[in-house]
């Protein structure tokens, strides 16, 4: 039975007739509210995760203590991380809260090192360096990794093959060797220069995984219709990557970046432990641990305090990262 062209169904349109698909707002008479953004939703889920909240509190507390602690200690006791007491009686390692003669004394809550320097001040300023290294390296990895991965994933084809093979090659080289070679090839003249090289070296190897993650995300996103729709409205490729693809891939990126911070911190500690990282008089948690390890049997507090601080920080950061992953990807938690 052939269909004959009929008059179009007379259906009224316009706001006044859009009732059928209007939500229940009008029925319950509630106000129009601009709904929560996806980020606020994620934040709420994160706040429900006790371990992640605890981790955040510890991380924030440590960061604040590292930022302001050293100058407070300087003001209160006159000690900074590298001030060696003038009195030769004091240039040796004291246990926590102890003064010469084994009496209780409040000045050194974590004791002193072999030269009589205050370990608390050293741990806190070591924290500054460790956090800075971790943060800057993570930023470098974000910057390179996201742009590299997004470009490879979006453009695809031969360029993608080439870019990813480069990543594979870099992956296959042990990063310690790359860092050692980098640091050895470019001997720094000043401790600050050494630090900058450390940032560079750690950043240079930490973007590889980030690039892979972003590439995978972008590849699955670029075939979605909204990308095609954006192309169909004439948006240029760089803008599509920046405004449409990267924001959609941000969840995994944030999670991985949070988990990169402790990894880089550990690498820094490891390199400093080997004597390749931070050079005296600057200190980091790694170099403090290296010093402390030499005197472990006699002055255990020299290792325990920097070690425990760092372990706590790493653990907390990992809790935060896990919490973020659950919060940003609620489907994953159910399985």
């Amino acid at each position: 039975m052939p269909v004959t062209p009929s008059e179009p169904p007379s259906i009224l349109i316009g706001p006044e007739y859009a009732f059928a698909e209007e939500d229940v707002r009008e029925l319950v008479g509630a106000e129009v509210i601009v709904g929560p953004s996806l980020w606020r939703d994620a934040w709420r889920r994160l706040m429900k995760n006790k371990l992640a909240v605890l981790g955040m509190v510890i991380v924030i507390a440590t960061v604040i203590a590292s930022l302001f602690g050293p100058s407070l200690i300087k003001a209160a006791t006159g000690y900074s991380y590298d001030s060696i007491p003038k009195d030769p009686m004091l240039t040796k390692s004291f246990a926590p809260f102890r003064a010469p003669g084994g009496k209780f004394f409040w000045t050194h809550p974590m004791g002193t090192d072999n030269a009589g320097r205050d370990i608390l001040a050293r741990v806190l300023s070591g924290g500054q360096i460790s956090l800075m290294v971790a943060l800057i390296s993570t930023l470098v990895s974000l910057l390179i990794g996201v742009s590299y991965g997004a470009t490879a994933g979006y453009i695809g084809g031969r360029l993608d093959d080439l870019m990813m093979r480069i990543v594979d090659v870099l992956y296959s080289l042990p990063y310690v060797i790359i860092v050692i070679v980098l640091l050895a090839m470019l001997p720094a003249k000043t401790p600050t220069g050494q630090l900058a090289e450390l940032f560079l070296a750690l950043g240079a190897v930490s973007w590889l995984t980030m690039a892979r993650i972003v590439r995978g995300q972008v590849m699955s996103l670029k075939n979605q219709e909204f990308v095609l729709a954006a192309r169909a409205t004439g948006v240029s490729t760089p803008k599509i990557i920046l405004r449409h693809l990267v924001p959609n891939a941000l969840g995994p990126v944030i999670v991985y970046a949070t988990l990169t911070v402790p990894t880089v911190m550990l690498s820094e500690a490891f390199l400093s432990f080997l004597g390749l990282g931070v050079r005296p008089p600057r200190v980091s948690w790694g170099s403090l641990a290296a010093e402390g390890a030499q005197n472990l049997s006699v002055y255990p507090w020299q290792l325990i305090f920097p070690g425990v601080t760092m372990a706590l920080m790493l653990l907390s950061l990992n809790f935060v990262g896990d919490g973020l992953r659950d919060a940003l990807d609620p489907q994953m938690r159910k399985s």
Partner: protein
């Protein structure tokens, strides 16, 4: 502007895809034209090349694996296939806009509606932020979204499917395009909303004077909406005719089969007609008529030779060895 009143002329368009199974000829020698202010319907089964043809019009085929092998797409006297990518981008969204099938996925879930609407006009009309926002609110009102001012900062997930399709239409029309390509704009929506959306497109088309290409596999949709229809099968145009003529007097066995397989609510309960068999593998098309294995009328010649494109009346052509006979038969039946 063209002298013959054609806004768009597509000639012998061929879009092929390289796959592991060989070259898939998704669109193979398609020609059609769209006149100023008219609506052209493109119907066909899934995989008949409708969408690929339309994506080719805007040069949105992913290369590789796809490639527009030959043909010309003349839009307002310029061949789109010969323009630079930058010139094509300037046309996309401004002169030719597109509405996609699934409103659930064609909006960016991480961007507020306002930002997505403003992106288009800031890009093509050079609007400032304030102008673009005002324009966006006006467009939302035009497509019938209540409380446009309050809802413009919502995220896509806060809208229902029909509302989202309205937003997409608002976005497509915000630069007053001369050609609107609607690629199955109602497939993902339920029936009452379908009618609303179609009416909306029809009304806005009347107001702006734009031409529309309506792609669908729903014959009921094209019946009330279009001036001309082309029927596609296996990447080729099987029949081209004015709408009423196509429905009244089909000149191609495939079109007849399609029309017969539309459920008729008035008919007695019984088996629904279906065209037997499956559409052919586009990577292994025979040299003969691609519809022959499924065709009721097929004779020996159909399995041997590729059919001619027979001109039946001034505006009616059909790709069939027996086009004239089929046409005459349907004339008798009518």
């Amino acid at each position: 502007m063209n002298t013959n009143g054609n806004l768009l002329e597509v000639k012998d368009l061929r879009t092929y895809f390289e796959t592991e199974d060989g070259v898939v000829k998704a669109v193979d020698g398609v020609s059609f034209e769209v006149r100023q202010g008219e609506t052209l319907g493109i119907v066909g089964e899934s995989g008949s090349g409708k969408s690929v043809a339309n994506l080719s019009l805007m040069r949105l085929i992913a290369e590789p694996p796809g490639k527009i092998v030959s043909g010309s797409i003349t839009f307002r006297g310029r061949d789109i296939l010969k323009l630079s990518p930058r010139e094509v981008r300037a046309i996309r969204g401004k002169q030719i806009a597109m509405i996609f099938q699934d409103p659930m996925t064609s909006l960016n879930p991480f961007m507020r509606i306002s930002k997505q609407l403003m992106e288009v006009t800031r890009l093509h009309l050079g609007h400032s932020k304030g102008e673009a926002r005002e324009h966006a609110i006006r467009m939302l009102e035009v497509v019938g979204i209540p409380d446009a001012e309050a809802r413009i900062d919502s995220y896509p997930h806060e809208f229902s499917g029909g509302m989202r399709q309205r937003v997409i239409i608002a976005m497509a029309l915000s630069c007053q395009p001369e050609l609107l390509i609607a690629d199955e704009p109602t497939t993902a929506l339920d029936v009452t909303i379908q009618a609303q959306i179609l009416e909306l497109i029809k009304r806005l088309k009347g107001e702006t004077g734009a031409s529309v290409i309506l792609v669908t596999h729903d014959l009921g949709v094209v019946a009330g909406m279009t001036d001309h229809i082309i029927v596609m099968y296996a990447g080729k145009v099987f029949e081209r005719a004015p709408t009423s003529e196509l429905f009244g007097q089909p000149g191609n066995p495939y079109t007849r089969g399609l029309l017969r397989s539309v459920p008729d609510p008035a008919a007695e309960q019984g088996n629904l007609y279906q065209i037997p068999g499956q559409p052919p593998d586009l990577a292994r098309l025979p040299g003969a008529c691609p519809f022959a294995p499924r065709c009721e009328r097929a004779e020996e010649i159909c399995r041997r030779e590729f059919p001619p494109f027979v001109q039946l009346t001034s505006e009616h052509s059909s790709l069939c060895h027996f086009a004239d006979e089929v046409f005459a038969e349907s004339q008798e039946a009518a």
